[in-house]
Structures are given as structure tokens and as C-alpha cells.
């Protein structure tokens, strides 16, 4: 099948539609605008609903309602807007509803800027809102992968009745790459949602969507159920990509756009005789600790590269547990590390003398 050239932001929309999503609620913010533009045009054409809310606070609560009604539903925003959604996300988790949330991350804190960043890693992977909970977090690194991740995101959300966040940044969103849509989407079995509040219509028992659990003993039980679910997700859903890892001595760790830069670094290092490889976490949560355990005895050290002051590096250190050195290179505030600067850092770590 012919490939088509597509922007990342449009691919989020196309992938969602192919995954059976028909409902979008959101509030405008840069740099994810092409996504709502795309869905505002496409969703009504296929019998879906695109609704621009009055705020991100409302948008995520509309998502809550649509998810409660049993729909595959999504929202999309960028860092400051995602901060506003945290209350609603916590409620969605508490009520065990499935939905997909896109965060096209930008430079912070505060208003920051609209340049690409990864400073929302903690917010995405460590809970984000109030209470003890986790989101499943996917980090695509190409436009093609955005398409497949949208399907995966909706499937995981339904499977675990938990929100799934897909994170990107302005580069991934604005970038155009060829995508092959063959084999994506199409006919799918609508997941059964007997818990949905759709009106009783002959059902004997009322359905109640709720996160209120006033009795501490019962709420503890609820939390422990969530914990069991998260344990299962950690065991079953770790995903990562390995690049040049088989005989790697020096392993770069990076996700999303930065992983693309890191691949460039691996290519360059390999050409110049350094045995470099890359672990690219695809699920930021659950963090792919299995990938680290696999290579821990073979490698000499890890270099984590992020567009932040160092967030994922904490998870890398938790996996490595002091068994190997872990180094960090970060560019915060909307700056993108270049192949050259990461390579220089890698050489330093590998003890290679810098020429010139």
C-alpha cells in the first residue's frame, strides 16, 4: 500500500479514529493544534463528536462523562493544559474509567514556551494528581509509531480501565514522516462495558460511576485493588526498543524525540569504534526495567538523555541500583540536545579523548 506523508499531530487523530475513537473534548493550546483541527473536521464526517470545551478542566470532565457512558474517548493538550486536567484525571482513575490523554509537551515551568520538552515526565509517570495512582504512559518516537500507539493506548485503557497518556513534543507533533496505514484500524470488536452508565434499559442493577469511598477500610481495599492492577500492568506491559544493544558497552537511554537524536549518536559512535547502544522506553510507565536487567552485566555504563533537568534518569537509577554508572545529559526549557553534544558526552563517559 502507498505510504502517505503525515504530521505527527494529525497522526494522533488518524490513529485515534482507526482505533475506534469517536469522541474528542479539548481546549486549544499550542503546540498540538493540528490535532484538534484534524479531528474537528474528521469526527463529524464519521458520526463522531468534536467538542471544544471552555477549559481543560471542563474538557477532562467531559471525557469522564463520555467514558462513563462507555465511549472510546480522548482529549489532547500540552503541558499547562495537562496540569489543569490533573483533578479530572485523578477522578477518572478513581472511577476506573478508560480514556486516552495526549500531552504534546512544551517548555515549562509556568507559561514557559511552545518549544519541545520532556519536563512533564514526573507528572505523567508518578501520578500527577492527588492520590495513589498510575497512568499507563506511552512515548512514540515516530509518526508511524503514533498511529500504532493510539490503537495500543485505547486497547490498554479498556483492558485495565485506566487512563492512558501518550506523550510527545512539538517536534514529534509538527514533524512529517511517511506512514503506512495498512493493517491499522478496521473492524474491531467493541469492548464490552457492562459497568457503563448508559441508562438501565432493562438492566436489573443500577450502574454507578464513582470515586467516593467514604469508609477508610473500604477505600484502602479500593487502593489495594488498584495496586494489584498496577502490579499486573508492570509485569505484562513493559515495552521498549533496543537499538544496537546486543554488544553495547555504553548504553544511551532516551525516549520520544530525544531517542531519535540518541539513535543518531549510536550510529555516529559505532562508525567511530565505540560500542554504543540505546534503550528507548516505549512505556514510560510501566518503566521497562526488564530491558536494564537484561544488559546490566554486559555494559559499562548508561547515559540518560532528556529534554529536562533529569527526571527519567531517576527511574534509570532505580533500575540500575548502583550496579553501573549512570550519567545524565539534559537540555531543559525547550532546547533539543544535538547529536554532536550527546556524542561528546558519550565519549567523555567512555573515556575517549576528544579530538581537536
Amino acid at each position: 500500500m502507498a505510504r502517505v506523508l503525515m504530521k505527527g499531530n494529525e497522526a494522533f487523530g488518524e490513529g485515534a479514529i482507526r482505533a475506534g475513537c469517536r469522541y474528542f473534548f479539548g481546549y486549544p493550546i499550542t503546540p498540538q493544534s493540528e490535532l484538534p483541527h484534524f479531528l474537528a473536521k474528521r469526527l463529524p464526517e464519521i458520526g463522531g463528536v468534536y467538542l471544544q470545551a471552555e477549559s481543560e478542566v471542563s474538557a477532562i470532565n467531559m471525557v469522564y462523562g463520555a467514558a462513563a457512558a462507555g465511549a472510546r474517548v480522548m482529549t489532547s493538550s500540552s503541558s499547562p493544559g495537562i496540569s489543569l486536567m490533573q483533578e479530572g484525571i485523578s477522578y477518572i482513575v478513581g472511577a476506573q474509567l478508560p480514556c486516552v490523554i495526549i500531552n504534546v509537551m512544551r517548555g515549562g515551568p509556568g507559561l514557559g514556551n511552545i518549544a519541545p520538552a520532556q519536563g512533564d515526565y514526573f507528572q505523567a509517570t508518578k501520578g500527577g494528581g492527588h492520590g495513589d495512582y498510575k497512568l499507563i504512559v506511552l512515548a512514540p518516537a515516530s509518526v508511524q509509531e503514533i498511529i500504532t500507539h493510539m490503537q495500543l493506548a485505547f486497547d490498554l485503557a479498556d483492558k485495565y480501565r485506566n487512563p492512558v497518556m501518550v506523550v510527545g513534543d512539538g517536534i514529534l507533533g509538527q514533524m512529517m514522516e511517511p506512514v503506512d496505514l495498512e493493517g491499522t484500524g478496521g473492524e474491531m470488536a467493541e469492548p464490552s462495558k457492562p459497568w457503563a452508565t448508559t441508562g438501565m434499559r432493562g438492566r436489573k442493577e443500577r450502574n454507578i460511576v464513582n470515586s467516593l469511598c467514604i469508609v477508610p477500610e473500604e477505600n484502602e481495599k479500593n487502593n489495594l485493588q488498584l495496586a494489584a492492577k498496577y502490579g499486573e500492568i508492570q509485569r505484562s506491559e513493559q515495552r521498549w526498543e533496543e537499538y544496537g544493544l546486543d554488544d553495547a558497552e555504553w548504553v544511551l537511554v532516551a525516549f520520544g524525540t530525544v531517542a531519535r537524536v540518541a539513535k543518531g549518536v549510536v550510529d555516529k559512535a559505532r562508525k567511530e569504534g565505540i560500542a554504543a547502544g540505546l534503550i528507548r522506553p516505549i512505556t514510560l510507565w510501566p518503566f521497562p526495567e526488564k530491558a536494564f536487567n537484561k544488559v546490566i552485566d554486559q555494559v559499562k555504563g548508561f547515559l540518560t538523555v532528556e529534554m529536562s533537568l533529569g527526571q527519567m534518569v531517576e527511574d534509570v537509577r532505580l533500575c540500575v541500583q548502583g550496579r553501573q554508572p549512570v550519567r545524565f545529559l539534559g537540555r531543559p526549557g525547550g532546547m533539543v540536545p544535538s547529536v554532536r553534544e550527546v556524542y561528546e558526552e558519550l565519549k567523555k563517559m567512555a573515556g575517549v579523548k576528544t579530538c581537536g
Binding site: S58, A59, G65, A67, G199, R206, I208, N210, S211
Partner: protein, 258 residues
């Protein structure tokens, strides 16, 4: 022997937790009667608030959703857009709707969202301990206005029905009270109309219900009813502020219930 009075099918039978003399129970019952009379119980999804009526999902015998504080109109929007042929209502207090959820209700109204909102105005935050609400009267003592609400520093009561009656999408806006049998009967008519507006797909409908809070007002149940009539009704005038234009033309809905 014919039963002439019984629990509406749209109530579960669980005993209300409300304080003695609180009128939440009356309004719950009115809503349930309307749902029964319209035959919509199995098509209805209710969205309850945060506040005293946070447990409303235990009382209404239909599918229910518990929303975050103030967000019920947004949640109801999500449900209604997915299930446009069902009936969706929100039940919200004055902290929920008129303070933290002002944006949600105004914009649900502006969109002409085809939902029904029942708004309980008792001039005080109940559940959190009797604090000032946006609807608290000037001079009214609350736990956060111990010397009475001072217009100079805390403003004056927000008139939600009047405010929303300026919004085109809010096609039915009424304020009613439940302080005596006559007002209860009028309240029921208005609430039924607010559901009929939705069933006819006309737009957003809201009924503001003046309600009592004997506990936080520091009054007996009877005194509270008297206080409502004497102090709240003059500030929050009762009546229908907006009715669907369609009803004026052909009388649909109007004659059916009023």
C-alpha cells in the same frame, strides 16, 4: 385498597442522610416523581455533585455518576454527547454550581447542552461546615462571615437564574421554592418542564430551587422555612425567567404540565 401515596420508583428506598428539616429530600422526591411520570427512569443518567447531596447516587434509582466539585455540567455533557437519546440531569448545590462550577454551568448553557440542571440554593455551604456561599445574603452570618456577609469585602448574592436567563442556549430557566405546599407543587411543575425541554431536544434547562439549611442557619426546621420565605424570596424572586420560544407558538409542554 388503592395505594394513594408511595415511594416513587425513581428513588431507591435508602433512607436520606440529610439533616432534619433540610429540603434536599423534598427536591429529590419531586425529581423522582417527574422521572416516574415521564416514564424515563431506565433512560436516565443522573450526575451528582460534591456537597451535601454527594450521596444522591444512593437515592436516585437510575444510573448515576459522581462528579468532581462543580464539574457536573461538563460530565453530563460528555454523557449526553455519547448518548443523545438518553435523559441526563445534574443535581448541584450553590457551592458546586455557583462558586467552583460557574464556568461549567454557564458554558453548558451557552452550548445549549440538552441536559437538565437542578440547582439547590440554600445560601450556604452545607457539608463543609456552613461557610459563605456566593448566594449568601448580605448580613447573613456564616462560619466564614461571623459578623454577617459584608457587601464591601465579600460582595452580594449571585442570582444564578437571572444570570443564565441572558444566555441564549438556556431555553428554560426558572426559580422555585419548597417552603410550603403550594411552592412545592409549583416547583414540581417547573422541574417537570425542565425535563420536557430536554425530551423535546430544545436546549439547556435549569431550575433553581430555594432550599433550607436549618443546621447551618442555626434554626429549627419550621423557622428555617419561615426564614427562607422572609429573607431569600425577596432577594431571589421566584418565577420562570425563560421558556422555549416553541412553547409560546404551539403550547407544547406548557399545557402538558402547568
Amino acid at each position: 385498597m388503592a395505594k394513594i401515596f408511595q415511594r416513587p420508583a425513581a428513588l431507591t428506598g435508602k433512607a436520606f442522610h440529610y439533616c432534619p428539616g433540610c429540603t434536599h429530600g423534598i427536591v429529590h422526591r419531586i425529581i423522582a416523581q417527574c422521572i416516574d411520570e415521564l416514564g424515563i427512569r431506565e433512560d436516565t443518567i443522573g450526575v451528582c455533585p460534591v456537597g451535601c447531596s454527594v450521596f444522591a447516587y444512593e437515592y436516585f434509582n437510575c444510573d448515576m455518576i459522581e462528579a468532581a466539585h462543580g464539574r457536573a455540567p461538563a460530565v453530563a455533557t460528555g454523557v449526553k454527547r455519547v448518548l443523545p437519546d438518553r435523559v441526563v440531569f445534574t443535581y448541584q448545590g450553590d457551592g458546586d454550581l455557583a462558586a467552583i462550577g460557574t464556568a461549567e454551568v454557564v458554558h453548558a448553557a451557552a452550548r445549549g447542552e440538552k441536559i437538565t440542571t437542578i440547582f439547590i440554593n440554600n445560601a450556604v455551604f452545607g457539608m463543609t461546615g456552613g461557610q459563605m456561599a456566593p448566594t449568601t445574603l448580605v448580613g447573613q452570618k456564616t462560619t466564614t462571615t461571623p459578623k454577617g456577609r459584608d457587601r464591601e469585602t465579600t460582595g452580594s448574592p449571585l442570582r444564578v437564574a437571572e444570570l443564565l436567563s441572558t444566555v441564549e442556549g438556556a431555553v428554560y430557566v426558572a426559580r422555585v421554592s419548597v417552603h410550603n405546599p403550594a411552592s412545592v407543587i409549583r416547583a414540581k411543575k417547573a422541574i417537570k418542564k425542565a425535563f420536557e425541554v430536554q425530551l423535546q431536544g430544545l436546549g439547556f434547562a435549569i431550575v433553581e430551587v430555594l432550599s433550607t439549611c436549618p443546621t447551618n442557619w442555626g434554626l429549627s426546621p419550621v423557622e428555617a422555612l419561615e426564614w427562607l420565605e422572609k429573607n431569600m424570596v425577596p432577594i431571589f424572586p421566584l418565577g420562570e425567567f425563560r421558556k422555549p420560544a416553541e412553547w409560546d407558538k404551539n403550547g407544547t409542554g406548557e399545557g402538558a404540565s402547568c
